[in-house]
């Protein structure tokens, strides 16, 4: 092993100029690639496509559109829609939405669509027509009056017109592929068009436009994600100041920052090369890469600086730093990479992308910060002044390190371990309470006061509909909607579900057929039943078009749409459990009640996938870390000393999530893997020095003191740098970035404390024979 490293060192440092030139070339190439990088978001990436529910959803998507829809509520600030200006605007919004590429034009619905009809009962039968007649003239008050009557007759108040008559709705379904290009629909471009062409064009003093739906949400997330550039600048500035305080040399500040930025450029460039875009959900990864790069760069300048102060030439010091850090640095970065790779086991596209993005980034750091950085450093000159600056500091910090080393003294170690056990037990109890899924109303990625969430609240408030709905797909034999038994089963199932807490209302072909049947009987509510007579049933159902989304062409599939009060995980679980319970009563070989479509169906699947992934993910990430530690230390005791604090911290992080009401979601699930992957670095750096000494039989406290003097300042500094880098996210306009920021800051700081405080105490216990 040592030979290989020496060979590497000779090969690299003899050809310093070639190495630098190669890096410059690669940086130019990948820099160009990085400039081509596009933000990229897709609906299907966010859902677990192989989950049973999503398989059902995909199977019937062509018939029922599915979950990717857009709701545009146009509101009149005067509180009443029946005026010329409003109807002209509504018509324009309808037409505009119709012509935006990516909209399924057959499924654009508003008062102005031909499918919006009313029927009324007259002596001797039905009369009816479009709610807005063909000769509608918005400037004629009588025409508006007529429309207002038709709206009532059509029974669309609460759905297409708000309960208080202050708003009207235009809804549309989105296509998965852009019809022009045949490529997957560019959701972000689509969202931008909604903002410009609908809100930008039509919102004014008298009209407000409220847009919700996945595409709009992800567009708003992407816009919020652009703040990241600002955070990135702030993080670089803070880090630069910190590194300067640490290194007291402009050059030594500049180089690790430069190498870390090179790593980010490479990572972004490689994404383009591999054909990926940067998803708004994983836009924070470049941050992490930068922060990790800096933390390893600091280890490098620390090593070089110490040796120069010790009297070596800069070149010698750089070579030595390279050889001494390649193994621990390499192992640490490798474990980061492996930690991220474990996220690949989770079958959700976006998490896999995050795993790839992050592991590529960290792998790149091995090249830029463990090879390029020492090579670049070998070119610089450190004068005597530099050495003088450190002379006094060493003494001062020695006192501090002596104090720290007390952690490995018997009494302190026992106290630390007791406190750790107590924290672990309390944390463990709290962590079992951790909730899965989104805990708050509105789009969880965004803050509650964001325009998108305000629009969501307005729409759910003023209309009887909810964006939180789930479809139970009833699968039967073709033409089974003419069967009284099947329809009655659907109706009874629906009634059971409506009675479940959290379900606001429900609609299905059966419930609509009952209304139509009453309609055929002069609107008499006493006839609001399913007819046993097959002809009568056919008559009732023939008035329900497939565009209603309540049946497919041959009515072999009929969804029961459940409108929910919210999409909190416990609500979803309760409803899903109720579906599973009640369907047993009605299912037969020819009649299945399948979960699930609709936005909440997707959430149910995602929650289940996330919950199912959590334990294996921790298992894999710890497995990988343990394996790497065993390989590098060849000691079970060393491995346990590193891993136990990590495990305690990951449990505490879960407890923190419970405490802060952060649910385990697609965006927070990776945090623990990231935290463990990066957190292990501290332990590895400290123990790599310590374990050699311990093997020689040195007392624990002494070995730890040596390790602290060698690596302690770099470890403390690394933890603080990483934490500062991610803590800026707390100010993000995106809720999930804030959550991730809080959790990662916590994990970085507490993992560092774990490595500095708990690790020596554990070592003291494991090597109890090696005392003074």
């Amino acid at each position: 092993m040592t030979n290989i490293i020496t060979l590497c060192e000779q090969g690299i440092f003899k050809n310093r100029f070639i190495v630098v030139a190669l890096f410059i070339l690669a940086t130019f190439f990948l820099g160009y690639q990085a400039s081509q990088l596009k933000l990229d978001a897709g609906f299907e990436k966010n859902i677990p496509l192989n989950h049973e529910y999503m398989q059902n959803y995909m199977k019937h998507r062509s018939d029922f559109g599915g979950a990717n829809n857009i709701l545009v509520s146009v509101c009149d600030t005067s509180g009443n829609i029946y005026n010329k200006n409003f109807f002209d605007t509504l018509k324009n919004v309808h037409d505009q939405l119709f012509f935006i590429d990516g909209v399924d034009r057959s499924l654009v619905v508003s008062l102005f669509s031909a499918s919006t009809r009313f029927t009324e009962i007259v002596e001797g039968g039905f009369s009816g027509g479009p709610v807005i007649p063909a000769n509608f003239d918005s400037s004629n008050p009588n025409a508006l009056k007529l429309v207002s009557e038709n709206v009532e007759k059509a029974g669309i108040v609460g759905r297409q017109v708000s309960d208080d008559f202050s708003c009207a709705m235009v809804t549309a379904q989105l296509l998965e592929l852009d019809p022009e290009t045949g490529e997957p629909l560019n959701t972000l471009e689509f969202a931008a068009k909604l903002e410009d062409q609908l809100r930008g064009q039509y919102e004014n003093d008298r009209i407000t436009v409220h847009i919700i739906g996945f595409a709009k949400m992800i567009g708003d997330v992407a816009n919020g994600a652009k703040d990241v550039v600002l955070f990135f600048a702030i993080a670089i500035a803070i880090t630069a100041v910190m590194v300067y305080l640490f290194s007291k040399s402009l050059m030594l500040t500049f180089l690790p920052l430069l190498c870390s930025i090179v790593a980010v450029v490479w990572q972004l460039g490689l994404l383009t090369v591999m054909g990926f875009g940067l998803d708004p959900m994983s836009i924070l990864v470049p941050f992490l890469v930068f922060a990790i790069g800096v933390s390893h760069g600091v280890q490098m300048i620390n090593a070089v600086g110490k040796r120069v102060v010790g009297g070596a030439s800069v070149l010698q010091a750089a070579k030595l730093a390279f050889t001494s850090l390649l193994i621990p640095g390499g192992i640490a970065l490798l474990s980061d990479t492996v930690g991220f790779m474990t996220l690949l086991v989770i079958d959700i596209g976006i998490i896999r992308e995050l795993a790839i993005t992050a592991s590529v980034g960290v792998a790149v750091i091995i090249l830029t910060n463990l090879i390029l950085l020492p090579v670049l450093m070998s070119f610089i000159k450190l004068d005597d002044k530099y050495i003088e600056r450190f002379a006094g500091k060493e003494q001062r910090s020695d006192k501090f390190w002596n104090a720290c080393a007390q952690c490995a003294s018997p009494k302190t170690a026992a106290a630390i371990l007791s406190v750790t056990v107590v924290l672990f037990v309390l944390g463990f109890i709290q962590s079992t309470e951790m909730k899965i899924g989104d805990l708050h109303a509105g789009a969880p990625a965004l803050h509650e006061d964001s325009r998108y969430n305000q629009d969501t609240f307005l729409i759910t408030d003023r209309y009887a509909i909810s964006v939180d709905y789930m479809s139970v797909l009833v699968e039967a034999t073709p033409e089974s909607c003419t069967s009284y038994e099947v329809m009655n089963a659907i109706d009874e199932f629906q009634w059971r579900m409506v009675n479940v807490e959290g379900v606001q209302s429900a609609v299905s072909l059966a419930s609509v057929a009952k209304q139509v049947n009453a309609g055929y009987n002069e609107g008499n509510p006493k006839w609001r039943v399913l007819p046993r007579n097959q002809q009568t049933m056919v008559q009732a159902i023939s008035r329900v078009p497939t565009s209603s989304g309540l049946l497919n062409q041959d009515c072999s599939v009929m969804p029961v749409i459940l409108f929910m009060e919210d999409h909190k995980a416990e609500t979803i679980n309760r409803v899903v459990d109720a579906v599973k319970q009640y369907r047993q009563e009605f299912e037969s070989d020819d009649l299945k009640f399948q979960l699930a479509s609709g936005p909440v169906g997707v959430m149910a699947a995602t929650n289940e996938a996330v919950e199912a992934a959590q334990t294996p993910m921790l298992f894999y990430v710890f497995g990988a870390v343990i394996l790497l530690c065993l390989l590098s230390f060849r000691s079970l005791r060393s491995t346990l000393s590193v891993v136990i604090p990590l495990y305690v911290v990951s449990i505490l992080a879960q407890a923190l999530m419970t405490f802060l009401e952060i649910g385990l979601t697609v965006s927070t699930l990776p945090v623990i893997a990231l935290g463990v992957g990066i957190g292990v670095d501290y332990g590895i750096y400290i123990l790599s020095t310590m374990s050699d000494k311990l093997k020689e039989g040195m007392p624990v406290q002494e070995a730890y003191l040596i390790a602290l003097k060698e690596r302690g300042s770099a470890v403390l500094f690394t933890g603080i740098t990483l934490a500062i880098g991610v803590s800026t996210w707390v100010f993000s306009s995106l809720k999930f970035q804030m959550d991730m920021g809080i959790l990662l800051t916590f994990m970085f700081i507490v993992n560092m404390l774990g490595a500095v405080v708990v690790l020596p105490a554990l070592a003291r216990m494991f090597w109890y024979k090696q005392c003074k």
């Binding site: 007259v122 009634w495 008499n524 046993r532 009563e585």
Partner: protein
């Protein structure tokens, strides 16, 4: 292998039993938290109790008009009407269902259940604890003389329009069997009966209003110049009122021996006439419309909406609409409150 097969059989056997069990269970109404918010269609009061019936075999009982208890009854059919005499309750509905309780709703028996007829019963009226009638779609008419132990079918061709009666008589001369079939198919829906001072009144499909002096043994049609359906006919406050399709309301003028139409300004059908105290009454209907007669104005109205701005309601009539616009099927004065049954359950209409 043998064991495996047996297990499989056993599972099938057990599954069969469970299926039977659920079918048997299906006949009993399902206890629903939201029964009070379901489609409720009729109500009746007895001895400080209010009983309400509606869809899925929902029967609700209340002592105060605030809290309702859902009773367990042996049917899941939609119940359209209820009547009470003393401790007896009868409820009728779809699938030609009649259920009865002799103990104020504690226990129930099914007296009639004929789903193969595909005809719903729409109203029930008991004259005393033994004698009563149940009427419904396509002219079905049942009578009991023994508290519902036995229900016998009656046919009343006299309820038909005179032209139809003449046509049927012609057929009868030639073919008695064909006459019966034709009679069954031509008979109008019988929607409502009410009793006042020994006189039975009936409202039905296609302009049918009739009265009977002998508890429905024989009927005389009351001529009226309107061919739409009637959903209720009530003698109240010294006058006879009939109401029905598309907001039509008529008052019988004794002196002229004919019906006079009142302007309601509603195009929504009225389902029931609800006598209140004194001369006051309400007419309740679809889309949450409430017409007050003699000035009892109901609040909860969204506005004093009339279907046509140029329309002026008749004297002492005020039209209003409930906020949720749900169809109101019936209402009653109970515990000084006007309690209504609507498509969205129990609702209290408060007087201004």
């Amino acid at each position: 292998m043998q064991w495996y097969m047996n297990t499989k059989k056993l599972i099938r056997y057990v599954a069969g039993i469970t299926l039977l069990a659920t079918q048997a269970q299906a006949a009993t109404s399902w206890q629903a938290k939201l029964a009070t918010e379901s489609l409720l269609l009729d109500m009746s009061t007895f001895d400080n109790h209010l009983v309400v019936v509606g869809e899925r075999g929902h029967v609700l009982l209340s002592e105060d008009g605030d809290t309702f208890e859902q009773l367990s009854v042996p049917t899941v059919a939609t119940l359209t009407a209820v009547d009470t005499v003393g401790d007896d309750i009868w409820a009728v509905g779809h699938d030609t269902t009649i259920i009865h309780s002799a103990d104020r709703g504690q226990t129930w028996q099914q007296q009639l259940f004929l789903p193969e007829l595909e005809k719903p019963l729409l109203d029930v009226l008991f004259f005393d604890s033994q004698h009563g009638i149940a009427i419904g779609a396509y002219g079905i008419f049942y009578r009991t003389q023994d508290g519902g132990q036995n229900w016998t079918v009656e046919k009343h061709p006299t309820l038909l329009h005179p032209d139809d009666q003449a046509y049927l008589e012609d057929i009868r001369q030639e073919d008695e069997a064909f006459y019966q079939t034709e009679l069954d198919s031509i008979m109008p829906h019988l929607n409502r009966v009410s009793l006042h001072d020994g006189m039975l009144y009936l409202a039905g499909e296609a302009g049918l209003l009739a009265k009977s002096e002998d508890m429905g043994q024989s009927w005389q049609r009351m001529e009226i110049d309107y061919m739409g359906s009637f959903f209720d006919i009530v003698f109240d406050g010294g006058r006879l009122l009939a109401t029905g399709l598309r907001g039509h309301l008529f008052e019988y003028v004794e002196e002229l021996q004919s019906w006079a139409e009142l302007d309601t300004c509603s195009l929504a059908s009225f389902n029931s006439i609800v006598p209140l105290d004194g001369d006051n009454a309400l007419v309740v209907g679809n889309n949450g419309y409430v017409l007050s007669i003699n000035g009892t104005v109901m609040s909860q109205e969204r506005a004093n909406i009339s279907a046509n701005e140029n329309c002026v309601t008749g004297q002492q009539l005020v039209l209003s609409q409930t906020e949720d616009s749900q169809a109101i099927i019936n209402a009653t004065l109970f515990n000084d409150k006007v309690i209504a049954v609507t498509a969205a359950g129990i609702q209290v209409l408060t007087q201004d």
